[in-house]
């Protein structure tokens, strides 16, 4: 079997990673009616302190540096995918 040099994660994989991280922050988070184009914070009742956890967890798991100026790009599930797609390599 030939491995591709750098497999990037798929859109669904990235979504799952984000949801898994949120589940880890708040194990009662309810994803059933989550709109991927709406702000995660408002829908899931998260605050800015929780939000920092998403950034730090991505850094810890994937060694990806997200500068503070880019935090707004992680506001919705869709924008997370757009931002992370070129940056996250498949495990």
């Amino acid at each position: 079997m030939i491995l591709k040099e750098k497999d990037l994660m798929t859109i669904d994989e990235i979504k799952n990673v984000i949801l898994e991280i949120i589940r880890d922050i708040d194990d009662e988070a309810d994803f059933t009616n989550l709109d991927p184009s709406e702000a995660l914070r408002d829908q899931l009742d998260l605050d800015s302190m929780d939000f920092l956890d998403i950034v730090m967890e991505l850094r810890k798991r994937y060694q990806i540096q997200i500068p503070e100026a880019d935090y707004p790009q992680l506001a919705t599930l869709d924008s997370c995918v757009n931002y992370l797609l070129p940056r996250l390599e498949a495990a």
């Binding site: 922050i25 708040d26 194990d27 009742d45 998260l46 605050d47 302190m49 929780d50 920092l52 956890d53 950034v55 730090m56 967890e57 850094r59 810890k60 503070e68």
Partner: protein, 473 residues
């Protein structure tokens, strides 16, 4: 050379919380604690096989699990401690008692206090509601010039007795200022005590500290007990590390001091570094408020006659409630009477506890302690404890005959074990709200950052790490 991304001075609740927060994301961090035990102002000691708590009477900021934005729940999420792993016991009812004048009860249901105000101060009820609406809209964490809380409250409430009664528990549970407090501090305390309320985690403060230490260590955090810092080392606008009492130098990229603001100033050996840290003299920024506290273990007979449904009674006997350093060694005209067993679902032990706290004068106790006659200090302790018993007996009934064990501590004891100058448990009246100092990688957390209480001090540690360090690494 050892260099830590973060070094924390102080293994109290704010230092532990800051450490957990930083270690959680795989970062190296070390906590240095001067005392041989953790906890700082909320710690414990053993006498005659009993564990005696210092500080903790009750934890403020109770919130139900579903209130995700409440400080308690935010804190637990940040520390990654699942709420269901804790057993939280709520208070019964607490009381503000000005004997022969008025009494107000409050619980973890704010409606009770509102009803009490309506019942006993009907002319003020509407004004009180208006004030609460105003307080609800106030953000106490924005840095801004000091506003007198007394003036603010008095501008809403025409009845000065009600004003004093409302201030009484808030001052006893967190004011570093004499007879007044900054409006921001008032808002924090009003919410924490009246709108949220009191609880205790099951077990003792020792169990809570064990849980926090375990979490810190699970994340890889390092800690050194009995390791006092003697000097903060600087290079231009930055701190580079610390020197410990044993002479060891530990380097760090960031430093959080939970020792207190005036206490941190003392760590700068060079005069220019010290004045750069703060131009104020230590004695003008040191808190003046300290306490004596007696801890009693009473036999079960005491349950027959002591109040069963009161968790804490805040009393005042004088015409005007004054919260300031008393002229005498102790001010018995006011105090806090705490029944640590009167919490819901608390398992009853063989003996019940009673804790009595009064305002005290640090200088007086320090003079007794340093007197060439070494019998003076213990004799003064005994004298004031006996006087306290007589005063408190008039409020809750006599308990002297039920005492199986008792111990007391004074401002001198507090200073010795917590390194808080003059035993000032609520720290300096000057709060550093954003935690920043004139050294760009040195931050202040804990009481002197302006968050109050056990939940507050832990949130302070968490917030300083979030705002100044985690997002920069």
């Amino acid at each position: 050379m050892r260099k830590y991304p973060l070094l924390i001075i102080g293994g109290g609740l704010s230092g532990l919380a800051a450490g957990i927060r930083f270690a959680r994301f795989g970062q190296k961090v070390i906590i240095l604690e001067k005392h041989s035990k953790l906890g700082g102002l909320n710690s414990y000691y053993h006498r005659k096989g009993k564990l005696l708590e210092t500080g903790l009477h009750a934890v403020t900021n109770f919130a139900p699990p579903e209130d995700k934005h409440a400080p308690l729940n935010r804190l637990l999420r940040q520390l990654k401690i699942p709420r269901r792993n804790l057993i939280l016991q709520e208070q019964y009812t607490s009381e503000i008692l000005f004997p022969d004048r008025a009494s107000l009860c409050f619980s973890n249901d704010f409606a009770l206090l509102k009803k009490q105000v309506q019942k006993y101060f009907p002319d003020s009820a509407e004004h009180f509601s208006k004030m609460v609406t105003k307080l609800d809209q106030y953000d106490p964490f924005i840095p801004r010039p000091k506003i007198s809380a007394r003036q603010f409250v008095s501008s809403f409430l025409p009845d000065s007795l009600l004003v004093e009664m409302l201030f009484c528990p808030l001052m006893f549970y967190g004011s570093s200022e004499e007879n007044d407090m900054d409006l921001s501090q008032f808002v924090i305390l009003f919410r924490a005590i009246y709108q949220e309320g009191f609880f205790r985690p099951a077990g003792t403060i020792g169990d809570l500290l064990d849980l926090l230490l375990q979490q810190y260590k699970n994340f890889g955090g390092e800690i050194k007990l009995a390791t006092g810092v003697t000097e903060i080392l600087t290079e231009n606008n930055r701190v580079s590390g610390v020197r410990t009492a044993s002479g060891e130098i530990i380097h760090c990229s960031n430093l959080i001091s939970t020792a207190g603001f005036p206490e941190t100033k003392k760590f700068f050996a060079a005069a220019d570094a010290a004045s750069k840290f703060s131009n104020s003299f230590e004695d003008t920024i040191s808190g003046r408020l300290s306490f004596v506290e007696s801890i009693y273990f009473l036999d079960k007979e005491a349950c027959q006659h002591l109040p069963k449904d009161r968790t804490i009674i805040f009393y005042n006997l004088s015409d005007t409630f004054s919260y300031r350093r008393p002229d005498e060694a102790v001010d018995l005209s006011s105090g806090v009477i705490c029944f640590p067993d009167n919490f819901q679902e608390k398992v009853k032990e063989d003996s019940i506890q009673l804790r009595i706290t009064h305002l005290a004068n640090y200088d007086a106790w320090n003079n007794f302690y340093n007197d060439s006659d070494k019998t003076l200090y213990p004799a003064m302790k005994t004298l004031w404890v006996e006087r306290s018993k007589k005063v408190v007996a008039k409020i809750i009934g006599n308990y002297s005959e039920n005492i199986v064990y008792e111990d007391s501590f004074t401002p001198v004891t507090i200073e010795r074990y917590t390194s808080r100058t003059q035993g000032a448990v609520y720290g300096s009246p000057e709060k550093i709200k954003d935690g920043k100092t004139n050294f760009e990688n040195l931050f202040i957390a804990g009481t002197d950052q302006g968050y109050l209480g056990i939940v507050g001090s832990m949130l302070s540690g968490v917030t300083m790490v979030n705002q100044h360090i985690l997002n920069k690494i």
